[in-house]
Amino acid sequence: MAKATFLEAIRQAQYEEMSRDERVFIMGEDIICNVFGTTTGFVDAFGTERVRDTPISENGFIGAAGGAAMVGMRPIVDATISSFLYPAMDQIMSIIAKSRYIYGGQARLPLVIRSCLFYGNSNAAQHSDRNYSMFMNVPGLKIMVPSNAYDMKGMLKAAVRDDDPVLCFEDSTCWMSKADLPDDPDFLIPLGKGDIKREGNDVSIIAIGGAVPLALKAANDLARDGISAEVVDPRSLVPLDKELILRSVRKTGRAITVDPAHQTCSAGSEIAALIAERAFDALRGPVLRVATADTHLPFSPAIEKALYPSPERIVAAARQLVGIRQPENA
């Protein structure tokens, strides 16, 4: 066990899985150059056959990963930034998500498509997407959005061993956060198992990816007002640990979802709908959503930052739910 960053967790998970199973290989743009440090030492360890630089042809190489998976390989694709998944939408949505089903279960597509959520730093609208929820709307893709290094390592290893396509979204606001990482080569966190990041009794805050640290900060602030918040991290969105979420809401009677994505059709909205449908009787107020405004992300830092969820917005929502007004000049 040693403290390591979220990015290092990705490196370790990939390294361990590539060492364990030689059908696992990795490809993407500038993998060899190792831009974000998730493939440090890989060429020396595994050679350029299993560590491949690709041309800027996302539809081509993500489609190829699907094909390689179908014939028995277990590719990891590093698509770098999640906005660059769009050129490959055709292969992801029509081919990779659906092949197993349309061929009556004959095909298996064990591949992992990794990409980061690169927002909050003046990268402007074409680079700042937090787009996991649009992939949730097509069945057949598993989706993970871990919020810390520990979860990242265990879930990515599980994703590589999973027999279905998994989209792994890596929130760049979590990149440098550290956790103790187990070195057991079989340390796995199964997809579909959420986690209570902080226990509480008054309100459930269900937060996704980079919103989890924000929710934890908000929970601290709320504790000072005597409000006890429970922070629920679904960790994976498909499959979704519905029971964990519903159990928490039944306990607290109040729910807020926090999602860095745009609000409309966000994962947070889906979870809000789930709660309204299945825990309505336990609710003492409306389910509130804290998400990013339905506008593109502007470049200028002067106007970008205010659009995202923040601890202040979460605190305000919680106070509204438990009936405490904001202090006058907050």
């Binding site: 743009e29 500038d30 060899i32 150059c33 190792n34 831009v35 974000f36 440090g37 440090t40 630089d53 690709t54 041309p55 800027i56 042809s57 539809n59 081509g60 906005s83 660059f84 769009y86 050129p87 730093n121 003046s122 990268n123 402007a124 609208a125 074409q126 680079h127 405004a293 339905d294 506008t295 593109h296 502007p298 470049f299 200028s300 830092p301 002067a302 106007i303 970008e304 205010a306 659009l307």
Partner: protein, 323 residues
């Protein structure tokens, strides 16, 4: 086609120098932490944008890339509005909403820079289609990199443009790198040769020789304007600076040698033209241009630095045509 006359050569020199000086100043500001986001500089490649855009009017179209400052300035974009955009200011050409990777001035035919590699290609094909339907002899140009040549949309555009005889120039700026990967590691064959199978003229040109670029593009633009269709041009050049200004902070190892960079600096497109102009006894004009460019650059940067930031309400504007 003959080379440009001396008057035109002086204009080319002035435009290349403006691009160079603006970017040097912006690069310094970036290093000093004064620019938000990621900045991709064009330094070393100025002859391409300049030699191409010298043949275009405001009514012609260009579509650009993440490395778009040179295209913007070469096509007549305002230096101060560009600088302000890079600083995220209200006076920026996009009110600070696009930043370095999205400079655009549609009124000048600059359809805009794109952060998505290959993003401008479809737009330029469409602009060429619009120009053809208009029948007023306009042309469209799309700039793209050697890395972008791997996007499927390039092949699709070649076929569509050839099939419909569109007034389009596909200008590939091959600077030897797709981000940090050298050309040979991610490209098969030569890019300019991809025109031939579609029955389209393809040309290879020294992208550090503005006269050579000017000649090749002149012929292609003339063909396009007279209804003879599209041309693919590959200009070989080199970027002097980092791929992205922040790269030294995150790259573990260098991906090219200092000697290679130096050898390309020996082929500086601006010094080459300057030597030619001096040999034609135009030393005085060169000096006057240098002074003028210095003045324009200085006031563009200083004014932009003093400009106000946008109000938060800006973030919610421009989503739809009616609000």
């Amino acid at each position: 086609m003959n080379g440009p006359d001396l008057q035109r050569s002086l204009q080319l020199f002035e435009r290349m120098l403006l691009i160079r000086r603006m970017e040097e100043r912006l690069g310094d500001l970036g290093k000093a932490g004064e620019l938000p986001g990621n900045v991709h500089l064009y330094i070393g490649q100025e002859a391409v944008a300049t030699g191409v855009c010298a043949h275009l009017d405001d009514s012609d179209w260009v579509a650009s890339t993440h490395r778009g400052h040179g295209h913007f300035l070469a096509k007549g974009g305002d230096p101060r509005a560009m600088a302000a955009e890079l600083m995220g200011k209200e006076t920026g050409i996009c009110h600070g909403k696009g930043g370095s990777m999205h400079v655009a001035d549609v009124s000048k035919g600059i359809l805009g820079a794109n952060g998505i590699v290959g993003g401008g290609v479809g737009l330029a094909v469409g602009a060429a289609l619009g120009a053809q339907l208009d029948g007023e002899g306009r042309v469209a140009v799309v700039f793209f990199g050697d890395g972008a040549s791997s996007q499927g949309v390039i092949s699709e555009a070649l076929n569509i443009a050839a099939l419909w005889k569109l007034p389009l120039l596909l200008v590939c700026e091959n600077n030897g790198f797709s981000q940090f990967s050298p050309y040979e590691t991610v490209n098969a064959g030569d890019i300019w040769r991809r025109a031939e199978p579609f029955g389209m003229p393809g040309a290879l040109v020294d992208g550090n020789d503005v006269h050579a670029v000017w000649r090749v593009v002149g012929e292609a633009v003339a063909r396009a304007r007279s209804g003879e269709g599209a041309t693919l041009i590959e200009a070989r050049t080199y970027r002097w600076r980092t791929h992205v200004e922040s790269e030294e902070s995150f790259l573990a190892a260098p991906y090219r040698t200092q000697e290679e960079v130096e050898s390309w600096k020996q082929r500086d497109p601006i010094s080459r033209l300057e030597e030619f102009l001096v040999s034609e006894d135009l030393e005085k004009d060169v000096a006057a241009i240098r002074a003028r460019v210095e003045g324009v650059t200085e006031s563009a940067i200083t004014d932009a630095l003093n400009d106000p930031l946008p109000p938060v309400s800006r973030a919610f504007e421009d989503m739809f045509a009616n609000g």
